[in-house]
Symmetry: D2
């Protein structure tokens, strides 16, 4: 069965607006990344929202949980802003059962030359295929269980709580 | 414990020689890729050889197997040319026991703008952390068991034999 | 004689801060660009400031004019934010005589994959070597005389006033 | 009036064939480069051939000269392999009069991350707009008169003969 990919925005998909110098969201770069990685895993991609994760609301997280539960796929990758990825993982931990859900993102927009997005997507798709049901964060080449992960605000690196 | 990364060459690490227009090997780009991916998985990198996989000999494969067995790490990623990756996997299948070994590579050199190398490395490191002991090929976002994989020469895509 | 290159900041040199998602100035990317272009024109590079051109003051422009006059080189390239490039050109037109001064910049930061900075630098260095003394803006592959150029705020394209 | 751009091949336009690991010609990347540079100079692009300049024949050079003479534009940029760029310039010097012709190319294919092609194109278009009629080579940020330029085979750098 295919892997479901849900897009929620985050640094991953930010673009540079030439006219005003601001970063903004246009379309997701998921299709480009999958092509770039020559990915042949069957995937179903759906954009749920395009938001900075600092602006993600409880309602947004409800929506994500709802889609995780209602889609037919059992393996799910979610692209998400890094600032509140751990919070969303906690919400999904409570509401989504019996599926393997892997949240990932990027510290640098895909459109920048040195983004970690392609690496993270590769690892997230692999973790989604191999980890037992549960909610995970995949960043920095590692996976973390929901409830035992935070983004270190000083270093930008994801780490275990304990 | 760390993941061991062995470098053997392949398209992954090819560079363009400005003076004669030939592709050649200089150094591995592994350190750059790990930095690009903001990888924080502990890794030990060692270059075993720098060869085009079409020129890899039985002796070379013996050497790779030897290093897989003698290193202390239990999880191993090997970068390898795609043309004979499946053959090397078969040799390792026979000679290396009780370790998780993941071979990966790239269809396009890392130094080209659109390489799949960063994606493949992300997936290979993830598979090495999660698959049970055995020999695997990680390409196109998927993993394959040694003995049940080949590179389709027409499409360049890895596929199961059966 | 060498070409003098003055750095003043602008989009050209903006970087992405991974920790807070803001664009900021660190160092100029001029050395990387010159290496990337295999440039062998003798150049002397000096950073005068690192500012967004919307924040450039009259005093800043005085400083730029002063350096244009006091350096020994007769051909000068200035990297500058695009928003007020035309204004600075007007100030230099009044204060700098008998030198060929070419202002250039970028619509997209150099560090983004699709920046116009390398193209613009190539054209600016060429114009500096070939145009007669005067103050010019080099953008979009063209050159414009100071006093007869503006950035179209809707399109982001530089155009003649008349 | 527009600038005429003639494409003849060379390293500039080489691509990497994923299936056999060879460099080859497909289409020119000129349109991408002009877009990347946000170039607004009116140009007319025509591909005359797609060859490695080591394989360029006298007949090929005749054809290039013919097109330089017969096109209506007075300013011409030619993309060309670097190995015999100086030879072609000599042929054009003899056969093309009263037009400004600038040959340029790249040491690294455009599709590689660190190509000098965008820089060279920016300088070539600028030189074509500003130099008096004659035949020139634009490489390394400089321009050279036909008959007084060679590519140093050891360094890959273009230099004057005297």
């Amino acid at each position: 069965m295919a892997i479901r990919i849900f897009i929620t925005g985050g640094t991953f998909d930010k673009e540079y607006n030439e006219l005003n110098g601001q970063l903004y969201f246009k379309d997701t770069h998921m299709a480009d990344l999958l092509e770039n990685g020559r990915c042949k895993v069957p995937v179903e991609v759906r954009t749920l929202m395009m938001v900075d994760s600092l602006e993600m609301t409880d309602e947004d997280r409800e929506l994500i949980a709802h889609h995780c539960n209602s889609c037919e796929e059992m393996q799910i990758v979610i692209t998400h802003g890094t600032d509140t990825m751990a919070e969303t993982a906690l919400v999904l931990e409570e509401k989504v059962k019996n599926k393997t859900v892997v949240l990932t993102g990027a510290m640098i927009p895909i459109k920048f030359g040195s983004s970690d997005g392609l690496f993270n997507l590769g690892s997230a798709l692999a973790f989604a295929q191999t980890l037992s049901p549960g909610i995970y964060v995949a960043m920095n080449g590692k996976y973390f269980h929901a409830g035992n992960v935070r983004k270190n605000k000083e270093s930008g690196i994801f780490e275990e709580l304990k």
